[in-house]
């Protein structure tokens, strides 16, 4: 460890179970990098953690303005945690806009680190502030630490060849160094990252290292803080090998793993869209795994090329977000009709239309389950955490290949950009599901729309001698696959495609209840609300409340056995980041049970405290 201590100064060390830091600055200040580095270092030293990046849709909104504020919240812990925390304990504000946008969230008595070098009258004006919060008394109740980071960085980098603009771009690493000192973290993980990142510009790596060391040493020299804090490694995490993972990366890895388990070459057709582009970027780097990535001319070509590749024998994949899903809809219907495997990932964001591109939401559930013309059933899965996206992607591949069907996997912006420690699966636990291609005409003759015991039709690669056949989006006759306008055949085929998809229920488990098997309230969730629900339920159970949690992964078809679970509770609360979509599905599928909707559509995840209050109010009824 290359930790530096100024001679003679040893600040006292205080122990904490968990801490929430929010880094906030201009979108050009590198707050996402700072937050990710802090996260990564905390992961490597063994903390449990959860993150919440929150950034504007504009690449660079006017500097110093409120719309340009970018934030990254990280919670690191010595015990199990499920959310990035409701309130930061520490807020780092790189300018007045970052301060004013975020201060309402800071815990009373919390630490506020302010870059005073960015608090000129002009800076205040850009942030639309009439008075200076540092002097107008509005920060009473917080422990304000004033550091002129602009000046400190300039001093620290005196003598380098960098321009003054480049010097100022190292401010975030000064801040990072200061936080590393405060929370007693090693610098080496970030040093290694800088050396890799700037391998071709070593002077930049050097400058950022200098800035980080300067920030670190400043903790000792300047006595900003009354002491240092320590959050010990989390020993209650299950045994195993871990790495830090973001949701989009986990999704990409799950898709590659799924293809390997199926014995297929993966083909991704995709068009860049926030917040899904990360999956395309990650898969483009997996060429040595045989991954073909095709950056298509539009969302429609993206899914069509993927379906074409599936016809040719690849594992076809397409990734997008809500507006892109809308464009892909017609081809999803074609995939249902021709019965080819296809994995469609929707990283949900705030809608409708362009909506809130960088904010999270779960409002595409109806679109996933119902959003096509005709009777077009498609199985739908939803990931609940960044690492769960890996398992869900593998599961999506399994269903697609075994049932010859398109599958929709829903994640969201919160999962895509959030990070957590991932306990790596044992390779032997990843069960292969090899794709079966028909390579010889069966003795009774080849029927392209005959079916196996799962009601899946045979998959034949073009290029196979003797099995030439035609497929298409016009209704097909049962078994032969010839064009058919026969009324009875159409009804038969619609029912057959539905029966095939509903049959997937036989291959999926009933999700486990967390908490008592019966009680007053069951909180039924799906997707990325999992962490907040778990935290709320745990908190209430510690107080003796009869509350349990059930979280869905398979959204359609729904797993078996849910009705007997629901029957054991007085009420089932359904919190979700939409206006009640799962709630409506539940009321329609299980009309005899008492479901209560708890919607939130603010582009922000649920806070644990919101859920605790809501559940408490139900318990009092």
């Amino acid at each position: 460890m290359s930790q530096t201590h100024a001679p003679g100064t040893q600040a006292p060390l205080h122990q904490f179970d968990n801490v929430v830091i929010r880094f906030a600055g201009d979108s050009g200040d590198g707050m996402q990098i700072t937050g990710n580095q802090f996260t990564h270092t905390s992961a490597v030293i063994g903390n449990d953690l959860a993150t919440f990046p929150d950034y504007p849709a504009e690449i660079r909104a006017p500097a110093g303005t409120r719309p340009g504020v970018s934030g990254f919240q990280v919670r690191f812990s010595s015990s199990d945690i499920h959310t990035p925390g409701d309130q930061p304990d520490v807020l780092v504000a790189m300018n007045p806009a970052a301060l004013v946008v975020n201060i309402k969230d800071l815990r009373p008595g919390g630490i506020l680190v302010v870059n005073t070098g960015q608090f000129t009258d002009g800076d205040l004006k850009k942030a639309n502030l009439a008075t200076n919060p540092l002097t107008d008394g509005s920060l009473k109740g917080f422990r304000v630490i004033e550091v002129d980071i602009n000046k400190r960085v300039t001093e620290a980098l005196k003598g380098t060849t960098l321009s003054s603009k480049e010097v100022q771009r190292c401010k975030n690493f000064y801040t990072l160094g200061l936080m590393y000192w405060l929370y007693n973290r090693p610098l080496d993980t970030t040093i290694k990252w800088l050396e890799d990142k700037f391998a071709k510009r070593p002077e930049l790596a050097e400058a950022n290292k200098l800035a980080m060391h300067a920030g670190y040493n400043a903790g000792d020299i300047h006595e900003f803080f009354q002491g240092r804090y320590e959050v010990a490694p989390c020993v209650s995490m299950p045994k195993g090998t871990y790495r830090n993972i973001m949701g989009n990366d986990a999704t990409a890895m799950g898709l590659v793993a799924g293809a390997q388990l199926a014995g297929l070459q993966p083909f991704l057709g995709s068009y860049p869209i926030t917040p899904a582009s990360g999956i395309l970027e990650a898969l483009a780097a997996y060429k040595n795994f045989g991954v073909i990535t095709f950056q298509a001319e539009d969302e429609i070509a993206a899914i069509c090329s993927a379906l074409g590749s599936a016809y040719a024998g690849c594992l076809g994949i397409t990734t997008t977000s809500g507006p892109g899903m809308a464009l892909k809809t017609e081809c999803m219907g074609l995939a249902v009709s021709v019965e080819l495997p296809l994995v469609i990932v929707n990283v949900q964001r705030g809608g409708p239309s362009t909506g809130l591109p960088t904010k999270t939401e779960q409002a595409d559930l109806f679109q996933a389950i119902f959003g096509r013309n005709g009777e077009a059933p498609i199985p739908v899965l939803a990931a609940s955490t960044p690492s769960d996206a890996f398992e869900c992607a593998v599961e999506a591949c399994r269903i697609a290949v075994q049932y010859m069907t398109p599958v929709i996997l829903l994640t969201d912006g919160y999962i895509a950009n959030g990070a957590e420690p991932w306990r790596l699966p044992e390779l032997r636990d990843l069960k292969p599901f090899p794709a079966q291609f028909l390579t010889q005409p069966p003795e009774a003759g080849f029927l392209p729309f005959s079916r196996n015991q799962l009601n899946a039709r045979p998959w034949v690669k073009p290029g196979t001698p003797g099995l030439e056949h035609r497929i298409g989006g016009i209704e097909k006759a049962h078994q032969t696959g010839h064009i058919s306008y026969d009324p009875e055949n159409h009804e038969f085929m619609c029912k057959m495609r539905l029966q095939k998809v509903m049959g997937i229920r036989d291959s999926i488990p009933t999700p486990p209840v967390q908490g008592d098997p019966n009680g007053d309230v069951l909180v039924l969730g799906w997707g990325s609300t999992r962490g907040a629900i778990t935290s709320a339920v745990e908190e209430l159970r510690k107080k003796g409340r009869k509350v349990s949690q059930l979280h869905l992964r398979h959204m359609w078809p729904l797993p078996k056995g849910l009705e007997t679970i629901f029957a054991r509770y007085r009420a089932v609360l359904v919190p979700e980041m939409n206006l009640g979509q799962l709630w409506r599905v539940m009321r329609s599928e299980y009309p005899q049970h008492n479901f209560i909707s708890y919607p939130k559509v603010q582009g922000q995840p649920f806070r644990t405290s919101e859920l605790v209050d809501k559940i408490e109010s139900l318990l009092q009824k």
């Binding site: 995490m237 081809c331 035609r470």
Partner: protein, 332 residues
């Protein structure tokens, strides 16, 4: 049961009843394509026909090969996936003026730009047939149809100019009723390594009958068209006594002896583009034949090359390499 190379036209006829209107130009094209397929030396199982929606797009059902009849305008996008996934297949796209230049114009542009090794047959009848007679993006201005009762105000696309503008490496035009010419053009397209775009003038007997008669009708065809044959003088006329030469950047009619030699392989698509614009001058013959035929690396070959390069540099991927990577730590 690999096929021997001795195939005949009838081997390419599927068991499906052909359902185009009697007299439709599509029959002649199907007949010619089936004949050409028998001469390519490509076994049936390696041929794949992909189409979108429209009268022409029923084509794959009538070919005894692999086939995919997809959705409106998307044949090029689907075929890009097919060919990239399996470069070993010979992939043919059948589309029309509506399918390929209107709803699917974007994909046609991009498959040509990328130079995916597919053969695109665009049946141009200057009308929407399957939806029963609305104007198309190639309909001439003023065409009266159900949706343009006072005449279409749209300015039309010229498919050959469009393809050249997209950077196509092979562009040609032929006529449904000119079987011998079509055969030569299709063979040249088949032998081109890269995206080949062939516009086929196709008569719709029901909704736009005789749209090309002023140039393609057999009795006047030799005088009203000039066949662009690479390396050959641009001569035309019943007696091959007339020619085309370029004067001051403009094609002009001259005697056969004065005709310029046509070159389809020059670096710039400029000369081909000049020829494609002869359509708008009724005093000039309509150019058919091969406008452009240049060599370029194909999309799918480059994709494969990168994968091989990555595998050579990093070694092939495995589940273990995938998951157990990056900075890890152990909780024991």
């Amino acid at each position: 049961m690999a096929e021997t190379q001795t195939l005949s036209k009838k081997d390419f006829k599927s068991d499906q009843e052909v359902r185009w209107c009697p007299g439709c130009g599509d029959y002649a094209i199907l007949n010619c394509v089936q004949g050409v397929m028998a001469t390519l030396g490509v076994p049936r199982h390696k041929l794949c026909f992909v189409s979108g929606i429209g009268c022409s797009s029923r084509f794959p059902y009538y070919m005894n090969t692999y086939g995919f009849h997809s959705i409106h305008g998307r044949a090029c996008a689907i075929a890009t996936g097919v060919k990239t996934a399996n470069p070993d297949l010979s992939v043919w796209i059948v589309t029309g003026d509506g399918d390929g230049l209107s709803i699917g114009g974007n994909h046609t542009a991009h498959i040509l730009r990328r130079n995916v090794d597919v053969k695109i047959l665009l049946f141009n009848n200057e009308i929407y047939g399957l939806t029963k007679g609305q104007f198309s993006p190639t309909s001439p201005q003023g065409l009266k149809t159900k949706t343009s009762p006072m005449g279409s105000v749209d300015r039309p696309f010229d498919p050959v100019s469009f393809a050249l503008g997209c950077g196509a490496t092979f562009v040609a035009r032929t006529i449904d009723t000119h079987q011998k010419h079509m055969e030569q053009v299709l063979l040249a397209a088949a032998h081109h390594k890269g995206a080949a775009f062939v516009e086929i003038y196709q008569n719709c007997v029901i909704f736009n009958d005789g749209a090309f008669d002023h140039v393609a009708e057999k009795s006047i065809r030799d005088d009203k068209t000039v066949d662009l044959r690479p390396g050959q003088p641009m001569v035309f006329g019943k007696n091959l006594d007339k020619g085309i030469r370029i004067e001051g950047w403009e094609p002009v009619v001259c005697s056969a002896a004065e005709a310029h030699t046509w070159r389809s392989d020059v670096h710039s698509p400029g000369p081909a583009f000049v020829m494609s614009q002869m359509d708008s001058n009724p005093a000039l013959p309509r150019p058919i034949g091969i406008f452009r035929d240049v060599a370029a690396s194909t999309f799918e070959a480059e994709v494969q090359r990168q994968i091989q390069k990555a595998q050579a540099a990093k070694g092939p991927g495995s589940l273990e390499k995938l998951i157990y990577s990056g900075e890890m730590w152990t909780v024991s």
